[in-house]
Structure formats: structure tokens, C-alpha cells
Amino acid sequence: MTDTDRTERPAGLLARLDESDLWWSFRHSPTVIVAALTTLVMFAAAIFAPWIAPHDPFDLSQVNLLDALLPPMWEEGGMAAFPLGTDDQGRDMLSTIIYGARISLFVGFASVALAMVIGVAVGLVSGYAGGWVDTVLMRIADVQLSFPAILIALLIDGVARGLLPRGSHDALAFYVLVTAIGLSFWVQYARTVRGSVLVERRKEYVLAAQVTGLPSLTILVRHILPNVTGPVLVIATIQLALAIITEATLSFLGVGIPPTSPSLGTLIRIGNDFLFSGEWWITIFPGAALVILVLAVNILGDWLRDALNPKLR
């Protein structure tokens, strides 16, 4: 018995966006705005790295061993040319961090995208087809879910190492890592999408489409898919943060991105050796960059989840 009166709303997309609760809660939350700006800045820096970074840390001609182990510029012995100091090879920290963030972000996005594609496809099929297809797929998902993603990622990484010829590890590390993390994250999408599909399937607009005679695939893609995107988006933002952390962890452990084009995690690992001898900046700055990036993504994810949750309004 819910025949409430609804006032008319403007029909255009922009107008609807402006009126929406999402935008309102965004505007009224200073932390979220700061987080969004930070993320934007880091994304931009990462994308435009070659133009923004003061030096190219991978151009061997630019790197001079004599510049090694310089402290940040506000400390004694630091130079303005290297604002955050240099590492043991003489590479500028600021530049390596910018490039490192770039790699971390690329791996993060690519692996989440992979997980999303696999997970959403599996979830759609599993939820709509039902029967033994559903049972088999969900069993696989259950088995995989009983292991933490990091273990799975490690395993895939290890297997890849075993399978690929020794010399090519470094070059292919990026792809191996993306695959490893992507394959360990798909399950959550599948589960959630399947749940949503099961709910939507019972709805009467699906029934109406069936009565009209539309084939199952059309119904799945045109009717059901648009209605299950909400939770997928929320999971994606949460997983982006997790993916970045996982990549950093794997790199730190030495089984991720190699030092030839290091990610933030690799940088932290390299710097760890110098922590006790006093050159703290080689670890701490990449560490800080990592934390800021993940924090910003997490804040955005939290906000998105709360804003999209109809029950909290």
C-alpha cells in the first residue's frame, strides 16, 4: 500500500544529477571533497608522469652515482634539484615516486577491471541460468573464497614463475601480477551480482519481458545488467584500494614488480635496507605516498557506499 505522491522531477541527466542525493552528500562532506581532490591529483600525476616528473629516473644517462643517498632538500646536505632526496643509485625520489604511483595505479585498475569482467559475467550467468551451472560456479567460488586473496595471488605468481622461462620474469611481471590479483578478486563480484540477479529475476518487469517473448540473453543484458551495477561500483572502489595494497605487499615481499621499473611497494622494499642506517627517506616517502593514495580511495569508497545505500537515506 505505497501509493505515495511523487512530485515531478526535471528530466535531463545533468539536472537529475544536480538534484540527486549523491551530489548533495558529496558537496556537504569536506573530507570526501579533499579525498576526491587528492585522488584526482595523484591520478593526474600518474598519467602525466613523463611530463610532470622533474627527472626521468630510468634514463641511465641522467642518473649519477655521485648523487646517491642525498637527503631531502630541507635537511643538511640536501639539494633543491632533488626535493625528496635520492636513493642508493642516485635516482630522484620524487620522480621515482611519481612513476611508482603510476605503476601501482595501473596495476590496481587493470586487476580490478579484470576481476570485474570475470566476476560480473560469472555472476550474471550463474544467477540467471540457475541449476547445475549455478551450483558448479558457486562451488568454485566458495572454494576460492575460503582462501585469502593474497595467498591466491602469491600462488598464481609462483606458478607463473615456474612456468615462464627464467629470463622473462621481469618483463612479464606486470601482466603476471595483474592476472594474479584479478583472478583472486573476481569472486566477490560474482557473488554479489548473482545475488542481485536472483532478486531482479523475480521482479515483474523481467516476467513482462518473458511474456513478450524476449530471449534470455537480451533480458539479461538489457534489463537485468543495468539494475545490478550499483553494488558492483561499490565493490570496485573498495577493491581498488585492496588491489593497490596487495600489489604493494607482493612487491615488498619481492615477488611483485621488479626494481627495474619499481612500484611504490618495490620502492619501500628497496628502502627498507637503508632504514637502519639512517637514510629513512628512501622508504618513508614512498610509504607516505602509498598511504595517502589508499586512504583517499577508501574515503571515496566509503562515501559512495553510504550514498548509494537506500536504507541510510
Partner: protein, 579 residues
């Protein structure tokens, strides 16, 4: 007469970022011991808000913005929270709508009763346990000593509501507020619960406020009635007077919109009080209008349009791994005919199989055995999708829940155009668009609705969108599966009128499925009564209602609310009038 609960000038508002919504305005009501005050209104009227406000349980940011509430002479709305808590349960009890979610699933009924009693009454635990058994017995649950130790999930819906009533009464309150207590229950259970509540009110001399949208419940149960509309009480008085001789225009329109169970009328009388009604529908000539054209009924057929022969449908319960393997027979050897141009009604309670029949007719389910013959063609024998689609064009369906029957992510124009595009009934996009706009006009929404999204419309309007979509393929057979059960009474009247008009104009054959007997009487030519998947009785409408042959039919008819009781000596609330 002493007034137990006295509400005067109560106002409740909900401040929000879009402005303040006044949910209740200047409400004045009172209840005496041993009497049942009904509060009736459609959704959004503010009835539940009153209940919550009296109990001090308004969800924030809701708050009382004016007025007073007195219990037995003492003012209670300004008490501190601790005192308010002591009143809840002990002096005012409350019953909610859904018995399944009202009970803590992890505790036995006994524990829930005992905890409540020990909080308010000075009893030892042993005494409380003994009293719990008594209460369960008083609310009519058999084997009380054994069942009191059960968990909520071990009870059926009706039993659970009885347990809820026991819980609301266990601390011996003087007033009970019941918010839609029977809405979630089947018709036969509903009658039992209402009877129970009447008896308890009488025996314990409590005052009850019964909040509901259902006029039938009011007629059967309430001594006095307050009618609410958009936050205000528009009329109040003894039930007899309000039902038979209302003063206020809104009350009049509300009563008029309730489907009469006693005789069939041409149309539902509409006093369009809310102004939400449809855009005026232009008269049209079916022979020249698009809707009446090219409905390839070339193949003349003999016999009824739809013939169902020995249809049986069973479902498997429990999958491979759950260890349960039962079959549930939803439809059992069903046979019936639906003739050209008639409106055939299928009535039954939930679980009777009526919706399954609809799905079998449209080919969504394949029957275990039996045939469905449409215009002489055996649909159940068709294998190819393409061939089936030819017949799918000719039958369409509208559904019960207006909020899930249209895809919230699609524009109205796309929703209505989809069948047109799929069956290639229009030669171009422009033509499709024109057809859609025409259809929207025809169902009373107006062509401007095409660009909007479903969430911009109310429930009744969304149902019109569904109807437009169903008409888009120019079907000759329309199945209506509880199309108005989820709508307010006045909106229901509008939609049913629309369906009547369309059926006449277009010569549609209709299968009208409902659990609501008065609606069936108003809409249908012939009726089939279903129970447990079987057809219990099939007859012309008037025959069925005046001279039922089957016991179950008689049972259902007896449960109909007697708002216009012409039956002499049948008892029940309202007196006869309006011959």
C-alpha cells in the same frame, strides 16, 4: 464515558533537507476502555505516525511539534525517556504488521514473554513462565505448554501474529495500538485474528486503536472510526454512521470506491477527491484507430479462445545438495474454458495456484502434463521460439506490484515500445514513437510521460504504464494478475474502471486473477474458484455469489466484509441500507 487515551491537537513533522514534511496535523482522538477505535486512510495519510508518536517511538528526525497526549488523565508526551519506557508495554502495548519480522528469531516465545513480564510486573520467574503458558492458551494457540517453548520460525503466519498479540498484552496494558495487524495475513486467518482481538478487548476491558487501510476490517471490528487524509482527521464517528452516511466528501469517495460485494455495478463510482486522477481520455473509434486495426484474427477458430485441458504443474523443492526432494503440485488437473470477449475471474487464496496458471498460459512455465489451446492451436506442443512468439503477440499480461513491473532504469517510452520493436510492429522509429504516445494518452497518462522514468510516477500511474505496454502488441487476450492488490482503494477504482473501458472498447478477452471477491464480482462474467491447485467451482458470477455450490466457495464468501450487509441476520458490523 471515561476516556482512557486522549490525544488532542497532536502534530508530527519530519524535517528534511528538502523542507519539513508535516505527517500529522492537529489530530484529536480518544479511546475508552473496551472500545475499538479504527483509524482508516490510504497510504501517506499519517495513521502509523500517530501510533508511533503516542508511544514515543518516532524515528528521528521525526518529532512531535504540537498537541498533548493524556493517558488516564496523566500527560505522557512530555515525560522523560525513562518514564516513557515504563509506560511502553506496561500501559500501552503495540502490535505491528509483519509477524515474521516482529519476533526475535533467536529466542523462544516463552523467553520473550518472560523477559517482558519480568521487566514490568512483580513476578517470580516461575510465575512468569506459568503465566506465559496461560497467555499462549488465551490467544488460541493449541498445546500451549509445548508450543510456548518453540522458536518463531516454527509457527505459521497466523500463529505468529497470535504470539505477537500475546507479547503485546503480557504486561497487562490498558491501551493497545494495532498497526495494520492483519494486512500480511490470508483472508481466512485475518478473520480469526480480528475475532481474537475483539474478544480480548472485551474480556480485558482495554482500549484499542486499530490502524488500517482496509474498510472491510473497519466494518467488522471497529466501534468508532476516524478517517484520515493527508495528515488530518477529516471525519470521526460511530462506524455505522461513517460507513452508511458519511458527511465529508473524502469519506464519501473512499466508501464509494470500495468494491461492493453485494451486486455488480457498471462502473466504480468515482469522486475524484485527490485530483490525482487521469488526464481525460478522448473517445475514439475502434474501427479506425490503430489499436483496433490489423489484429490478425484472420484464423477464425471454433470454440473458446483459450482452453485449458487437464493442466498439471509441479515444482521441485530443494536442490541437489540440500537433501530435500519434494515435489509441490501447484496446479492439479485443471480444465477450464475462456470464451471470446468474456472476462473470466480466477479467485483463491495465496498458494492456490492462480498465478501459476497465468504463467502456464503464457508459456513461461511448461506444464508437467495437459494442454493449453489458444484459438484452436495447442501451445504446449510448440517447440520453436519463433512460432511461439506469434502467439505471444496475442496475449499479454499485467502484474501486481507496480514498483517492480516496470524496469526502473528505462524510460517510459522504451518500456512501452519494447514489445512493438521486438515484434516489429512498426515500420520506423518515428512510427513506434507515435504509437507509444498514443497509447499513453489512451491509458490516461498523457504523451509527456514518454520521456520520464518510472520513479517519477506513483503506483497507480505505473500500473497505467504496464497497461500501455500490454496493449502495445494489440493483444486479443489480456491476463490481469492481481493488478490492483497493491494499490490504494481509490486508485484501484480508477484502474479497474480503465480496464473495464478498455475491455469494452477493444473487445478484449480477459483473465482476471484476484484474491479479492468483491473486485471479482465487479469485474468478471464467469468465475473459477481455486484451492490447492484444483478448481473447486466454476459458474457465472451472479450464480456463484448468490447460490454457491461448493463448501470452500461458501467459506470464502462468508469471509467477505459486510460493509453493505443486506443479508438479514448475518450479524457483523454495519446495518443494512442502500438497497
Amino acid at each position: 464515558m471515561t476516556r482512557l487515551l486522549d490525544i488532542s491537537g497532536l502534530s508530527v513533522e519530519f524535517p528534511s533537507r528538502r523542507g519539513t514534511v508535516t505527517a500529522a496535523r492537529d489530530i484529536t482522538l480518544s479511546v475508552a476502555p473496551g472500545e475499538i477505535l479504527g483509524v482508516v486512510g490510504e497510504s501517506g495519510a499519517g495513521k502509523s505516525t500517530i501510533g508511533a508518536a503516542v508511544m514515543g517511538l518516532l524515528e528521528p528526525p521525526g518529532r512531535v511539534s504540537g498537541g498533548e497526549v493524556h493517558l488516564d488523565g496523566q500527560r505522557i508526551d512530555t515525560l522523560p525517556e525513562g518514564d516513557k519506557r515504563r509506560i511502553r508495554g506496561r500501559r500501552i502495548g503495540m502490535i505491528f504488521q509483519d509477524p515474521l519480522t516482529s519476533l526475535n528469531p533467536l529466542e523462544t516465545i516463552e523467553d520473550q514473554l518472560v523477559t517482558t513480564m519480568l521487566t514490568h510486573l512483580d513476578l517470580s520467574e516461575a510465575e512468569a513462565r506459568a503465566r506465559a503458558v496461560e497467555l499462549i492458551d488465551q490467544v488460541g494457540i493449541p498445546e500451549p505448554a509445548k508450543r510456548v517453548k518453540n522458536y518463531p520460525h516454527q509457527f505459521s503466519g497466523g500463529m505468529r501474529q497470535r504470539a505477537v498479540i500475546a507479547l503485546a498484552l503480557c504486561a497487562e496494558p490498558e491501551v493497545v495500538i494495532a498497526d495494520e495487524p492483519t494486512t500480511a495475513l490470508d483472508v481466512s486467518i485475518q478473520a480469526q485474528i480480528l475475532e481474537l482481538m475483539r474478544r480480548l478487548v472485551r474480556d480485558r476491558d482495554v482500549g484499542m486503536i486499530l490502524i488500517t487501510h482496509d474498510m472491510g476490517v473497519i466494518a467488522e471490528t471497529a466501534d468508532r472510526v476516524a478517517v484520515m487524509y493527508r495528515g488530518s482527521v477529516v471525519e470521526e464517528g460511530p462506524t455505522d454512521k461513517i460507513l452508511l452516511n458519511p458527511d465529508h466528501a473524502y469519506t464519501q469517495s473512499l466508501i464509494a470506491a470500495v468494491p461492493r460485494p453485494d451486486r455488480r455495478m457498471d462502473r466504480f463510482p468515482l469522486v475524484d477527491y485527490s485530483g490525482e486522477g487521469a488526464a481525460p481520455r478522448a473517445a475514439f473509434d475502434v474501427k479506425t484507430h490503430w489499436l483496433g486495426q490489423a489484429r490478425d484474427f484472420a484464423a477464425a477458430h471454433e470454440g473458446p479462445l483459450v482452453a485449458v485441458e487437464n493442466l498439471t504443474m509441479a515444482f521441485h523443492v530443494g536442490g541437489m545438495l540440500s537433501g530435500r526432494h519434494e515435489t509441490f503440485t501447484a496446479v492439479d488437473d485443471l480444465s477450464l474454458d475462456i470464451r471470446d470477449g468474456e472476462v473470466f475471474g480466477l479467485v483463491g487464496e495465496s498458494g492456490s495456484g492462480k498465478s501459476t496458471v497465468a504463467r502456464l498460459l503464457t508459456g513461461i512455465y511448461r506444464p508437467v502434463s495437459g494442454r493449453v489451446v489458444f484459438a484452436g492451436v495447442d501451445l504446449t506442443a510448440i517447440g520453436s521460439r519463433r512460432e511461439m512468439n506469434r502467439y505471444r503477440r496475442q496475449m499479454q499480461m499485467i502484474f501486481q506490484d507496480p514498483y517492480s513491473s516496470v524496469n526502473p532504469r528505462m524510460r517510459v517510452s522504451d518500456i512501452v515500445a519494447e514489445p512493438i520493436r521486438f515484434h516489429r510492429l512498426a515500420s520506423s522509429n518515428a512510427e513506434a514513437r507515435r504509437i507509444v504516445e498514443d497509447l499513453l494518452e489512451h491509458v490516461g497518462l498523457g504523451a509527456a510521460a514518454a520521456k520520464k522514468y518510472p520513479h517519477e510516477f506513483s503506483g497507480g500511474q505505473r500500473q497505467r504504464i504496464s497497461i500501455a505496454r500490454a496493449l502495445a502488441t494489440r493483444p486479443r487476450f489480456l491476463i490481469c494478475d492481481e493488478p490492483t492488490s497493491a494499490l490504494d482503494v481509490s486508485i484501484q477504482a480508477q484502474i479497474l474502471n480503465l480496464l473495464k473501458d478498455l475491455q469494452e472498447e477493444l473487445g478484449l478477452t480477459m483473465l482476471f486473477i484476484s484474491h479479492d471477491l468483491p473486485v471479482i464480482r465487479q469485474m468478471c462474467d464467469r468465475v473459477g474458484v481455486m484451492k490447492g491447485g484444483r478448481l473447486m467451482e466454476l459458474a457465472e458470477t451472479e450464480t456463484l455469489f448468490e447460490a454457491p455450490q461448493n463448501d470452500y466457495t461458501r467459506h470464502l464468501l462468508a469471509l467477505m466484509p459486510k460493509i453493505y450487509a443486506e443479508e438479514a441476520g448475518e450479524g457483523g458490523g454495519a446495518a443494512a441500507l442502500d438497497a
